[in-house]
């Protein structure tokens, strides 16, 4: 019932440093499985536009390549994403898309990802923590951090690799996370899982309207449990230490 609304779905994805090698499998699989039949606008942030492969896109689907500054520390790259996304929305995305998803690039789509995922504010359950008690969630536990979550707080542990929603809501969300990241920086602290920690703090206070099951954020290194009928979006096997060097 969303199709007659003529919606455009935006996707932000960051490919900095050696992560440019993930662009092709990400885009090719997205063309096959992501929001088929809808208008889609990919916003690809990279320090090296020349390294972006030419991937054929279906009708009504666009790619914008946006240069950003590289950084020697992968944590810095990761943390700047919230600010970059909010600036993109303010500058252009608010006029170009109705919904926006912010996805990690070192992933592939393996099955359909469709309008069932559209909501005002969307989070995805982290595949490592859906069967675990909240005390074991890897929240930031130092009270001095703006991302601090107490042991008796928390609904789900959400993955930083997937979030989204209506473009105005994503704007507020990423602005809020960025503000918290800056507050921590001023206090000389970096949260345990970078912006994922801040994302989790924020989602406790501003609860998502739609929560995606681990079908939408899986880690292929994990054995597939019976509760998982289908894997739609999952990690690409990679050598993390090499990538981050």
């Amino acid at each position: 019932m969303y199709q007659p609304l003529n919606l455009t779905i935006g996707v932000t994805v960051f490919a900095v440093g050696k992560y440019t090698c993930f662009i092709r499998p990400f885009l090719e699989s997205a063309e096959k499985f992501f929001m088929r039949g809808y208008q889609v606008h990919y916003y690809l942030f990279t320090h090296d536009p020349a390294a972006v492969p030419k991937v054929p896109l279906g009708p009504g689907r666009l790619l914008s390549i946006i240069p950003i500054q590289g950084h020697s520390q992968w944590e810095e790259i990761s943390m700047r994403r919230m600010e970059t996304i909010s600036k993109l929305i303010a500058k252009r995305a608010h006029q170009e898309v109705d919904y926006l998803f912010c996805l990690d690039v070192d992933m592939v789509f393996r099955n359909p990802w469709g309008p069932e995922t559209l909501g005002d504010l969307v989070a995805a359950i982290h595949p490592g923590y859906f069967a675990v008690s909240r005390q074991q969630f890897p929240y930031e536990r130092r009270q001095v951090s703006a991302a601090f979550v107490a042991y008796n707080e928390g609904d789900f542990y959400y993955g930083g690799a997937v979030f989204g929603g209506r473009v105005a809501r994503v704007y507020e969300f990423t602005r809020g996370c960025h503000t918290a990241i800056l507050a921590d920086k001023a206090n000389g602290i970096m949260a345990a899982w970078q912006e994922e920690s801040h994302l989790n703090r924020r989602f406790i206070w501003h609860k998502p309207s739609t929560v995606l099951s681990p079908e939408y954020l899986w880690d292929d290194r994990k054995p597939q449990p019976p509760s998982l009928k289908l894997i739609r979006f999952s990690t690409v096997d990679k050598d993390t230490s090499w990538l981050r060097s």
């Binding site: 019932m1 069932e116 069967a131 008690s133 107490a150 707080e153 609904d155 789900f156 609860k207």
Partner: protein
């Protein structure tokens, strides 16, 4: 939101195993156990939500107002801002019921109709007219309820969303072929035997003012069309409501906890709470 302490939701533990809690179009079906009212109250209070409750007390039906309003004061949207919109042809007979803080009552004087079917059906016209003129500026959500009922347990913000319908207590376990939809193709309310999600009750529906306006306007126009074609749907406004909700799917569906008749249906174990229930009445006496 402020810091709240509550039990952790578990991704692998369903809230109810005996009933459907989500429609195929991903609208929640509201049953006891599926929601945490403290979280929801906080979310709606942060928006300073105002809820309008429309109720029609035409001719002898004024007699139901006192119990309706008194029980609403106890159970309906407690802690939130409420405006009761009482449509009546007998404003002098509207009882003085003491109201809690942040709650007020507005009497809207309207004409009556001779036939009870017309009284029922014209509610759609009146709600749509007043939605545009007044409700849009005064409330965030509208709940449209029958008056010959009482609230017997919590009915709160868990019901609020863009558009909601309520499962009819007589049909929640029936097959769609047995739903008492209008089956004559000549009527605007016609639904064929192989279509239909649920059978919704005309006595309790609502949503945002905009969505309720759209629904009531569409139902009224459909009834005008039917009248011009010399046909009246089998269950009047309820038939048209069902047609509308089939093609404009509700964003929440209320379980029969929100629309029950204990005299007719008892208290089955599947109903953890009976929230809004029929008041016994003599149909013959009251409809004339």
């Amino acid at each position: 939101m402020t810091r709240m302490v509550y039990a952790q939701p578990k991704a692998l533990t369903p809230s109810r195993k005996d009933v459907l809690v989500l429609t195929p179009w991903l609208a929640p079906i509201i049953w006891e156990g599926t929601f945490n009212i403290d979280i929801l109250n906080e979310q709606f209070r942060l928006q300073n939500t105002t809820v309008g409750l429309t109720v029609f007390a035409i001719k002898k039906y004024v007699v139901f107002l006192k119990l309706f309003l008194e029980t609403a004061e106890q159970h309906f949207m407690v802690g939130h801002k409420v405006i009761y919109y009482v449509f009546t042809d007998r404003p002098a007979d509207v009882p003085q019921v003491p109201l809690g803080a942040g709650r007020k009552l507005v009497v809207l004087t309207v004409r009556n109709y001779t036939r009870w079917q017309d009284v029922s059906m014209h509610r759609m016209e009146m709600i749509s007219r007043f939605s545009e003129q007044r409700f849009l500026h005064e409330v965030d959500y509208l709940v449209c309820a029958d008056v010959d009922m009482k609230f017997s347990d919590h009915v709160g913000v868990e019901i609020l969303s863009a558009l909601f319908g309520t499962l009819h207590p007589g049909f929640y376990s029936s097959s769609r072929e047995a739903f008492t939809y209008e089956r004559r193709p000549k009527s605007q309310a016609y639904i064929p035997r192989d279509e239909g999600d649920f059978y919704y009750m005309g006595a309790f529906f609502g949503g945002s003012v905009v969505e309720v306006y759209r629904l009531t306007k569409a139902c009224h126009q459909a009834m005008v069309e039917d009248k011009a074609n010399g046909i009246e749907a089998v269950w009047h406004d309820e038939s048209h409501l069902n047609k509308y909700l089939l093609y404009h799917k509700p964003t929440k569906v209320l379980s029969p906890e929100y629309m029950w008749d204990q005299q007719l249906l008892g208290w089955p174990s599947i109903m953890k709470k009976l929230r809004y229930v029929a008041v016994p009445k003599n149909h013959q006496a009251i409809r004339n």
